[in-house]
């Protein structure tokens, strides 16, 4: 193959038969565009949340409902999962055996589940306090923004599970690598969104 060398972080796609030259770069590029679109969705959800912050209309407000402890633990879990995904990417690039990749992906998946568990527990506590979205504009905005992120994490977890299955079936072929790279972008993106949620929703709510 004398085509242009395909260079991508975490990918060894050169000399590939399966992908047409350039298909890998296009695949990643398209996913970046998707993430931009998704980022706008979250930006708008944050904006709505900002405008609805004062609309508590007698229902429980941020200071009554938000607990710094669980939110901080969730942050630690999700940031760690980004680290473990990074290690999975490095394993994909350098490790010829698949074991370490599978191990790091599995740890990431477990951390994702742990995060979701804590988050669901938060929601359960709020609902048992009667802090439900039908009571105020503020709670509506909260229950749109934070679960939207949670749904993304759920999708990310499902995606990791699918990729683990694909590694078992196909090994590390080019499409598996490409999808792992895209999944990595997605996972780190969710981390960035969560940092916004932790700062704007939880820290501002508790301290502000």
């Amino acid at each position: 193959m004398s085509g242009p060398q395909l260079r991508h972080v975490g990918l060894n796609l050169h000399g590939s038969d399966l992908l047409e030259p350039g298909e890998a770069t296009i695949g990643v590029y398209g996913f970046w565009i998707f993430l931009m679109s998704d980022a706008i969705l979250f930006a708008l959800l944050f904006a709505i949340y900002g405008t609805q912050l004062a609309a508590t209309v007698g229902a429980p407000g941020p200071q009554a409902e938000f607990k710094i402890g669980p939110a901080f633990i969730e942050t630690l879990i999700l940031l760690t999962s980004s680290l473990t995904f990074g290690l999975a990417s490095i394993a994909m690039k350098y490790d010829r055996t698949r074991t370490s990749l599978v191990v790091w992906l599995s740890i990431t998946l477990a951390l994702g589940f742990a995060f979701l568990g804590f988050e669901l527990n938060d929601f359960r506590t709020m609902i048992s306090d009667d802090a439900t979205p039908d009571r105020s504009g503020f709670l509506s905005a909260f229950f749109a923004l934070v679960p939207a992120h949670g749904l993304h994490v759920t999708a990310g977890c499902a995606w990791i599970a699918v990729m683990l299955a694909q590694i078992a079936v196909f090994g590390l072929d080019d499409r598996v690598k490409l999808n792992l790279l895209r999944l990595g972008l997605f996972w780190h993106f969710l981390d960035i969104v969560w940092i916004g949620i932790f700062s704007i929703v939880y820290l501002q709510g508790i301290l502000g």
Partner: protein, 699 residues
Amino acid sequence: MSGDVWFWLFGRLDAKALPFVRAWDHPTLSEFIGAMAGGMVVVGAVVLVALLTWQRWWRPLFLDWLTSLDHKKIGIMYVVIAGVMLTRALIEAVLMRTQQSLAVDAPGIVAPEHFAQLFSTHGTIMVFFMAMPFLTGLINFAMPLQIGARDVAFPLLNSISLMLTAAGAGLVMISLAIGDFSTGGWSGYPPYTGKAFQPGVGPDYWIWAITLTSLGTTFSGLNFAATIYKKRCPGMHLMRMPLFCWTALCTSILMVFAMPPLTLATALLALDRYADFHFFTNDLGGNMMNYVNLFWLFGHPEVYILILPAFGVYSEVISAFSSKELYGYTSLVLATMAIGILSFTVWLHHFFTMGQSADVNAAFGIATMTIGVPTGVKVYDWIWTMFRGEVRFTTPMLFSIAFIVTFVLGGFSGILLAVPPIDFVVHNTVFLVAHFHNVIIPGTLYGVIAGYMYWFPKAFGFRLVEGWGKVSFACWVVGFYLAFMPLYVLGLGGMPRRSQALFEPDYRPWLIVAVLGAFILLAGLVTLFVQLAVSVREREKNRVPVGDPWDARSLEWSVSAPPPEYNFATIPHVGRRDVFYWRKAAHGAYKPADHYRDITVPRNSWVGPIVGLGGAACGFGLVWHIWWMTILGFAAVWITVIGRSFVRDTHRVISAAEVEATDRAWLAQVSGAHPIPRQLEESPKNFGLAESFPAPVPA
């Protein structure tokens, strides 16, 4: 007990949902009209099924078309959707005009609720299911050919986009026969579309139809942008692309950034309606201004999503039929991108009267007027392109010229509306209706029709007959002026928009002129279909297999008509703008390749149709609260998508020998064809090979 089973199976569906039953219970003219419309959908569906069965077209329909990942076929299917939806929405427009012309101090023929559904579906369809699919179809068809690519960046995603749009259009059509549609206008402002005021299924149909198509459009935008950035052929620098590709790029960027606000607006409205959230309600901290801002954050860029591709079509058409290179290419590119950016800075002018301070209004008014500047640049560029060109008045060219004149008028009324004090006076009157039809009809509809006629011979290998085209053109232009100029007068006279009945006798003469215009517009559509039918019947006379009937300039004309599945036997190399034109001038066109290679193309896939069907089922279930159907549809979508990621055999190879044989057969046709001069391009002698002229000496 049996009620529980019924609800479990059919949700809130009951016999009253059928317009036929409603017409039986309340035999009024309005209900009969509704039942007739529903009947037309049912009869249309039955006739279609019968025809497909009778002609044994089911297999080709699915195997050659619906499962195809070929960007050209997907483009054509988009245009078919647009044609069907245009027919419905135009009939609705005629019905509304008829109602208003009869309803001066009289009840007319359509009840208020029914009238409100008419203007809601008319607007929703024209924007989301006519204009958007039409232009997406044209981009799909022409853009990859123009940049020398074999397909779009993500062919399967392209098919999914198409099917999601089709699913949305399907929901709107189903609403005619089962249930009713929203009465909240195409913009669906809450709280009126909230549960408190419209507990029925109408707004839900609107929400899910829009959600499906806005997801499809986001994916289309992503796909086109990635295609234009990454799939251009060697040498096709950005500044060498045909202008249509620039406008397609700008529209794609707008789609990526402007569709999420719409998706979010409809999603939050759905949360309000389904789960008792309080985003836009009147009580408990809801704030409908959030909806208005979200909607127009999408809605204004949307205007340019609609108009820019048409600008691209005009640039291609005017250049080709003036036999000249596009004047001021760079300024057109800059103007396009400037419009793209400015389009995000003006959304507030859609609600000047909704409580901002005068300073805020002034800022947005000025920003709005600023958009007139790049648009003006474009108009002058097109005029200069025609200047001293050898202009041929084919139908697409006539549409382009009518566009320039009519669109400038619409732009003027837009500048008036951009002045907040004037907007306060005429807002919510038919002056506004006149204005936006005056920009969108020439700015989008004329453009997509011109594009359809311009690229039709490329897509199907034969030209459309010119005679019927010109009749249709005359109807569209005369009809437009008669239908909408009176609305300016009526609007200044204070006639509110969306009125089912009127109480001012002085309006009547103007309304009668307007309904006359609406019927002439309908004649424009009918003649368009007649033109298509006649052209298909006389196709042998108008064949242009060589593929260049208009002596045009860009790469899509350098291949056979219709083009092979893989577009180009060998990927072209480009050294300048208008490369095909200069190749012809230098006698470098129509040459066989040095050697041919195997070509890999994507296999057909059922994923798109299944995702579309699943999406439609999910939406229909949500509308009627048939939860098993919702879950089933949703699961079908995701199981299919995940299942597909396990399929590795997604491509097939067309052998070099086959490519070479096809190419040489076509080249033999080329050398057997007689080149015709431009003056004879409308005659049957036109075989698609243009007489080439020696390269002119640069001035």
